[in-house]
């Protein structure tokens, strides 16, 4: 059966065209005009993915994410306005997987949905991950680029693995600090930036034009494996 997408969006025109394009792309759709309705629909018809607007009347988007995340593990993609970096970070920290900034093209959103569904479906079982000319052997803990071994520090490797494990998802600085440096470390966001810069220099063709380790300005990073 085709995946079911739950749209929680109060603006009827946006809901309408989202619904139309999702149906056109072969998905089944449930529409909710408020957070409360969305939560109810999610319980009655558990979706495979949620598209959620952050600015909702009644209980707001952040609250909806928190409540959904108590029992629902499917991807949540957030729709947000520009210049709301803090809101985006909060949503991601609450458990959202990705965000799209309004106004957006449906093509971009559908790509995100496909990626999110794919990552949700594929369990990270494979021991070898490749992207570009890079080959990461998770079992052997080795990294090769152009068939040459690349030396990574333990933290760099840990960062790389964390990124790979959350492919497609936007990862906030806070999330990465917690995952890589551990919850008790006092490391600051710029640690992540410096390590990310090093990873890029070691694994990207042109570190100023990264292909895989993408920056989400003001929010965090995203690992993009498919080229």
């Amino acid at each position: 059966m085709n995946p079911l997408i739950l749209i929680i969006e109060d603006e009827a025109p946006i809901r309408k065209y989202l619904s139309a394009s999702f149906v056109d792309a072969g998905y089944r759709v449930n529409e909710a005009a408020s957070g409360e309705e969305g939560l109810r629909l999610a319980v009655d018809y558990p979706p495979d993915l949620v598209v959620l607007d952050l600015g909702l009347p009644g209980i707001d988007g952040q609250e909806v994410i928190q409540q959904l995340r108590q029992w629902l593990r499917v991807p949540i993609i957030v729709l947000s306005a520009r210049d709301q970096e803090a809101q985006k970070i909060l949503a991601l920290d609450h458990g959202a997987d990705d965000y799209v900034t309004k106004p957006f093209g449906t093509g971009e959103l559908l790509a995100r949905i496909r990626a999110a569904l794919r990552h949700a479906a594929s369990s990270p079982t494979g021991n070898v991950v490749t992207f570009g000319t890079v080959r990461v052997d998770l079992a052997a803990r080795t990294v090769h680029r152009n068939h040459e071994i690349v030396h990574l520090t333990p933290l760099e490797y840990k960062l790389l693995v964390t990124m790979i494990r959350h492919t497609g998802k936007v990862l906030t600085h806070r999330f990465l600090l917690r995952e890589v440096w551990g919850p008790n470390d006092v490391a600051e966001p710029h640690y992540v930036r410096v390590f990310m810069a090093n990873l890029r220099r070691k694994l990207e063709e042109d570190s100023a034009r990264p292909q895989f380790f993408l920056t989400e300005p003001g929010v965090g990073y995203r690992f993009h494996s498919a080229v």
């Binding site: 210049d83 106004p103 520090t153 930036r193 990310m196 100023a208 003001g218």
Partner: protein
């Protein structure tokens, strides 16, 4: 030789000037009550109403004549203000109601009426002036005996002194004089028939007034006044036609003003003479520096000056050594042809001994005519409020007595001790005593001391002792010389003392004004200016001072001392307002709102009246005397100029801001209407075509859809820019500074501009040793995106763009360079302004002129700057300069 008279031209300009139209004054003028002035006025009113004019009846004195009342009853009548004055209900004309009603014409009976205490003005003619200022035409009635300059003549003729008078210039300022005439016989007949209403108490006075001879004289005067008016009007009309008037050798009159009560008559005579000769006249008084002038004398002179001013004279105080020389010097310098002076009231013996001022004037006047006017002693119409006249300095005479006794004792001791006991020494001791008294207590006690000294010297030291008898006649000479020297010493010393006191006072005043001026010039802000002026002035005068200021179209408000008695007094605000509106003094000691608790001096600047200085004297005598008034006026003038300077600074800044924001608004409007309408039109057109047509082939459909898509993006970009700019302008954007890897931000910007950069070589040169930079990544990314987009937009396709960054000491320098045409010289700064575009055609409608303005606003917010130059090799190079701290953190890799 002919030339236009500047004053007349000015008057003409004033009359012709269309802005701020002054209301016309029409006076129904008669010679006595009952000639039918009010009736004539009402008849004319009905005619005016029939002609469609907006006319109301402001106030009509109760006449009790049915014909008059019938005429009045059908007119729109303003409500009458009733006020309680010591238990008596008084009815008064309500000027506020009149101003509020603002009719075209208003009728106000009895121009010479004095208003009840508590009214805004003490005289009705002042109300009328205010109505005219407000542009309302006023019709009123007036009898000839109420004209100030005719006042004394009427008194002489009829034996009745009329207290209610109007200044001549009010009468002269009337635009129309309507003479209402009735032969005296007819008037008497009407009186006999009881057609003329007179209050009971006036009936007896009226009996003597309404005598045939009186009436004839008054009638003649009224006819003459009206005729001279006609003459003036004819003259005026002629001058208007020919633009020049025969320039006859016009007379110029000078009238000498002294404290004597007879001066008032001299002034009135001068006025009549000046009017008859059509001459200008000046009233002068002479200030002799060596002489102490008492407060009451100063007050009298000031009263006379005010009378002269009311009658249209220019007033002036001259300073000089002698009265006659000073007057003649001035008269010669100003081409005065006639001098009027009151007959000297000095005693005969004095006139025989010393020549009087009049004699000296006559002897030395040369070609100038001297008119000596017999002055009947006349009660000054304004008596001094409560001068402390009886406070004779008894202490001075005590001093004289004590000093003489001490002198006598000293002489006696010397005599007994046989030390320097010659008579010459004794005389010297007494004279020293006189000098001491003169210096300490003034002239009169010193004269007393001189006489006393002679008597005591005679009694105690001239044989036979202890009698006033003199054995040797030689001593008579001694006495005479002693007395003469004593008198001389006393005169000279007291004069010197007065001179010193005068000089000191003047110096003090000049110092005060100098200090005030200095202080005011160093201050900014009206509150500080007001406070400084109040403090300095208040200390010198001994008064509480509050500065009221008025801003365009608002009520005046106290700037300082809001808790003071002045600021909380109920009449203060109206008085301040009145003073400001009329640029005249009001409050205590004036004719306007005398019940206020302070004197209000207007702060008249060069362009307008800015406010008023409220002066509440702590002691009522502190405000008396013309020099205090003058001091206040000079200080007010200084403060006004300082305030004006301050305001002009503020105004200039504000108007610049306003002009800028106005400019911005209009550019915003035009830019927005262009940048928003164009994509909207494309979207609307494309989508409606898609909706309405079923026959489009798929290629066309796709291209229309693509248009909608790209135009939407463009619309979005414009909106984002406008929003961001307004956020930055409003200061709502706070930078979120964190340590960043610059490469990451550059990379993000490049990714964002990937579309613009297709087919373009984009070179990025980043110093690998670049440490972490403290920056707001989103803002910097925006700047880089805008710069790259800008470069892509204005340079030929395919031309390279480069980006380089380096750290120079504490500054992060990022350079974005293109290989386009460069920036035209002179526009290096302009391109960063909002809505500036480097050539509209090159723009192709892609941008909205905000990109670089946003860049500048952001770099400024981050404490840095952005500039552009045309480096050698062509193209434009934008340089972002951002400050960086020294202590970039090091991150250990490992």
């Amino acid at each position: 030789m002919t030339r236009p008279d500047p004053d007349q031209l000015l008057a003409q300009i004033r009359d012709d000037s269309p802005d701020r139209k002054r209301g016309q004054l029409r006076i129904f003028f008669g010679y006595a009550a009952g000639v039918g002035k009010t009736f004539a006025m009402l008849e004319n009113a009905h005619r005016a109403i029939a002609a469609g004019r907006d006319l109301v009846l402001g106030y009509l004195e109760p006449h009790g004549r049915p014909a008059t009342e019938r005429l009045a009853s059908s007119l729109e009548t303003l409500p009458i203000r009733e006020m309680d004055h010591r238990g008596v209900r008084l009815k008064e004309f309500d000027i506020d109601a009149a101003l509020q009603r603002n009719p075209e014409i208003i009728l106000v009976d009895e121009l010479a009426h004095s208003n009840a205490a508590g009214s805004r003005h003490s005289k009705r003619w002042q109300d009328v002036q205010e109505l005219r200022e407000a542009g309302i035409d006023v019709w009123t009635t007036l009898n000839v005996q109420h004209i100030e300059s005719l006042n004394d003549i009427v008194g002489e003729i009829t034996g009745i002194v009329v207290r209610e008078t109007i200044p001549d210039d009010v009468f002269e300022s009337a635009n129309e004089i309507e003479l209402v005439d009735l032969p005296p016989d007819d008037l008497l007949e009407r009186l006999g028939q009881g057609q003329i209403y007179l209050p009971e108490q006036a009936a007896r006075a009226a009996q003597s007034f309404f005598k045939r001879a009186n009436l004839s004289a008054l009638r003649e005067m009224s006819l003459r006044q009206a005729a001279s008016r006609v003459h003036t009007e004819v003259e005026f009309a002629r001058s208007r036609q020919s633009a020049t008037v025969p320039w006859a050798t016009t007379d110029r009159l000078l009238v000498c003003v002294g404290p004597s009560p007879t001066t008032a008559r001299v002034i009135r005579t001068a006025k009549r003479m000046a009017t008859a000769l059509d001459a200008k006249w000046t009233a002068v008084s002479v200030d002799l520096p060596g002489h102490a002038t008492s407060q009451s004398v100063k007050f009298q002179i000031e009263q006379h000056f005010r009378l002269a001013e009311r009658l249209g004279a220019e007033t002036l105080t001259l300073a000089g050594n002698t009265v006659s020389d000073t007057i003649l010097d001035y008269a010669r310098a100003r081409n005065v042809t006639k001098i009027l002076i009151g007959k000297s009231s000095e005693p005969k013996w004095k006139r025989l001994l010393f020549k009087s001022v009049v004699d000296r004037l006559i002897n030395t006047s040369g070609g100038i005519d001297i008119y000596v006017i017999q002055g009947d002693s006349e009660q000054a119409t304004h008596s001094r409020p409560s001068p402390n006249r009886t406070a004779i300095r008894w202490s001075g005479y005590g001093n004289a007595l004590v000093t003489t006794i001490v002198s006598a004792l000293l002489s006696y001791i010397l005599l007994r001790l046989h030390v320097a006991d010659t008579e010459a020494n004794r005389v010297m001791i007494f004279l020293a005593g006189v000098a001491f008294v003169a210096f300490r207590s003034g002239q009169r006690p010193a004269i007393a001391a001189s006489i006393l000294a002679v008597l005591v010297f005679d009694y105690c030291f001239v044989p036979p002792f202890l009698t006033f008898a003199v054995s040797d006649t030689q001593y008579l000479v001694t006495f005479a010389v002693m007395l003469a020297i004593g008198l001389l010493i006393s005169t000279l010393t007291s004069r010197l003392k007065a001179q010193i006191a005068n000089a000191r006072r003047r110096e003090q005043r000049i110092n005060l004004l100098y200090e005030l001026g200095k202080e005011l010039s160093s201050l900014y802000g009206e509150v500080f200016l007001a406070m400084a002026a109040s403090r300095t002035l208040g200390e010198i005068i001994g008064a509480e001072i509050v500065v009221y200021l008025r801003h365009q179209g608002k009520l005046p408000y106290p700037v300082n001392g809001q808790q003071t008695l002045v600021a909380t007094h109920e009449i203060s605000l109206p008085a301040a307002q009145w003073s400001i509106e009329h640029s005249q003094v009001s409050g205590i000691g004036t004719n306007t709102l005398p019940s206020a608790c302070a004197l209000f001096v207007p702060l008249v600047g060069t362009q307008s009246c800015l406010g008023a200085l409220a002066v509440r004297p702590l002691d009522s005598t502190n405000l008396q005397g013309p020099d205090v008034r003058r001091l206040l006026e000079s200080a007010a003038n200084q403060l006004a100029l300082a305030l004006e300077r301050d305001r002009s600074v503020v105004d200039a800044a504000e108007s610049r801001l306003r002009a800028e924001s106005e400019q911005l608004r209009s550019t915003l409007l035009s830019s927005v209407s262009h940048d928003l309408k164009t994509p909207l039109a494309s979207i609307a057109g494309a989508s409606s075509t898609l909706l309405n047509s079923d026959t489009l082939d798929s290629t066309t459909r796709r291209s229309l859809l693509a248009t909608i898509m790209s135009e939407t993006e463009r619309l979005n970009r414009v909106l984002q820019n406008i929003l961001q700019m307004s956020r930055l302008d409003a200061g709502a954007a706070n930078p979120n500074l964190q340590w960043h890897v610059l490469e990451e931000i550059v990379g993000s910007a490049l990714k964002h501009t990937a579309q613009e950069l297709t087919d373009r070589p984009m070179q990025v040169i980043l110093d690998p040793s670049l440490p972490l930079v403290l920056i707001d990544d989103v803002m910097l990314e925006q700047v880089l995106i805008n710069l790259i987009e800008n470069a892509a937009r204005y340079t030929p396709e395919g031309s390279p763009i480069s980006l380089a960054a380096e750290l120079q000491r504490n500054r992060l320098l990022i350079r974005v360079r293109d290989r386009g045409p460069g920036i035209p010289t002179g526009l290096e700064d302009k391109i960063f302004e909002k809505f500036h575009r480097a050539g509209v055609s090159a723009d192709d409608g892609k941008g909205n002129g905000l990109g670089l303005a946003i860049c500048r606003a952001i770099t400024k917010l981050l404490g840095g700057s952005i500039s552009v130059s045309n480096p050698p090799g062509g193209g434009a190079e934008f340089t972002i300069e951002l400050p960086q701290p020294n202590d970039a953190p090091q991150v250990r890799i490992g």
